[in-house]
Amino acid sequence: MKKNNIFLFIIISILILTLININVFDVYENIDDTKNRYIDVSWVKKYTSLKDLYNDSYVVIIGEVLSTNYRNILVKSNVTSVPFTDFVIKINSVLKGFVSNDTIVVSQTGGLLNDVLFMIRDDPLMQNGDKVILFLNKEEKYGSHFILGGPQGRFVILNDHVFSIGELQPQTDSITKSLWTKGITLDDFTDDIRS
């Protein structure tokens, strides 16, 4: 009887894990990778120090990506839409500015259009569960904040260490290069931006 219970427990666990996996990855199952659609943009601003980023931001937060919502903006001529993605970020701490809720909506250019994922080559979309530090500009007309300088204003926390987007990408060069943190600790990072 006990052996049967253990067996049943293992089977149910496997089933649950499989279902969780399907939920996490089903967004990507519909994406047709073979079409290789990509976006390149010309960035308006260039940041050469964390201090500049901090000074230019309205809000700076440490948080975690909770959910992803795709939306598209139809262009004036109606020929197509440009894909955007809104992320709900759970705020763990606010390093600058004022946020009234415990979540904030942050947008990135790129997203899902006709079941195909479009991504900016040097600014890949955030993923649910990502732990991030975001330097944000003021809330804009769609009720969300954009990240300052695209990939430049986003840092990822891995094992309590902070990395810029360029450091996590295989390319050797990147617009984020002058902001590379070489994986400093979160404490050192927050000290740096306030110094």
Binding site: S42, I73, T109, M119, I147
Partner: protein, 160 residues
């Protein structure tokens, strides 16, 4: 999901290109008859005049759509979307200029943004040197890069 970018000395190739039977001169659909779009295209075509391999073929007017629009404070001034591809061949591209972000740009600077996006249209990728394909407006403008440089032109010449 992206193929590897081939980086040469002064230019980088995205790996995407037009079928070699349809490339020169650069033609496009200018959605708002925006004169700076024509000006950026003229700069490219003028620079590419010297490449005999590019003399007999053309992108048709419907293959590249260029349009200025207001996308808000996105952080980018121009966007290039490879809309339809067949393998690594472009079938159709969109270029949009973000009128919100170029509000305080000079005509030369706006032309630089459009010409940069046209560079992607040819199949060029980003470089971080003083060339048109540097993705930072700040870097290009502070080095007065408003039209294709020799390296950018060599890049296109190496593809077609």
């Amino acid at each position: 999901m992206f193929n590897n970018i081939l980086i040469c000395e002064g230019y980088a190739i995205s790996g995407y290109e037009w079928d070699s039977s349809k490339v020169d001169p650069l033609k496009y659909y200018n959605a708002n008859s925006y004169f700076l779009i024509d000006s950026a295209a003229y700069d490219w075509n003028y620079c590419l005049w010297g490449y005999p391999s590019l003399s007999s073929v053309s992108i048709t007017n419907e293959d590249v759509w260029v349009e200025p629009d207001d996308f808000g404070e996105t952080g980018w001034s121009g966007i290039f979307i490879a809309w339809e591809t067949e393998g690594y061949n472009y079938l159709y591209c969109y270029i949009f200029i973000n009128t919100y972000e170029i509000m305080y740009y000079s005509n030369d600077e706006i032309k630089s943004v459009i010409a940069h996006e046209f560079g992607h249209c040819w199949g060029l990728a980003h470089v971080y040197t003083n060339n048109l394909m540097n993705p930072s407006d700040f870097d290009r403008f502070s080095n007065y890069v408003y039209s294709p440089k020799d390296d950018d032109v060599d890049g296109v010449g190496s593809i077609y």
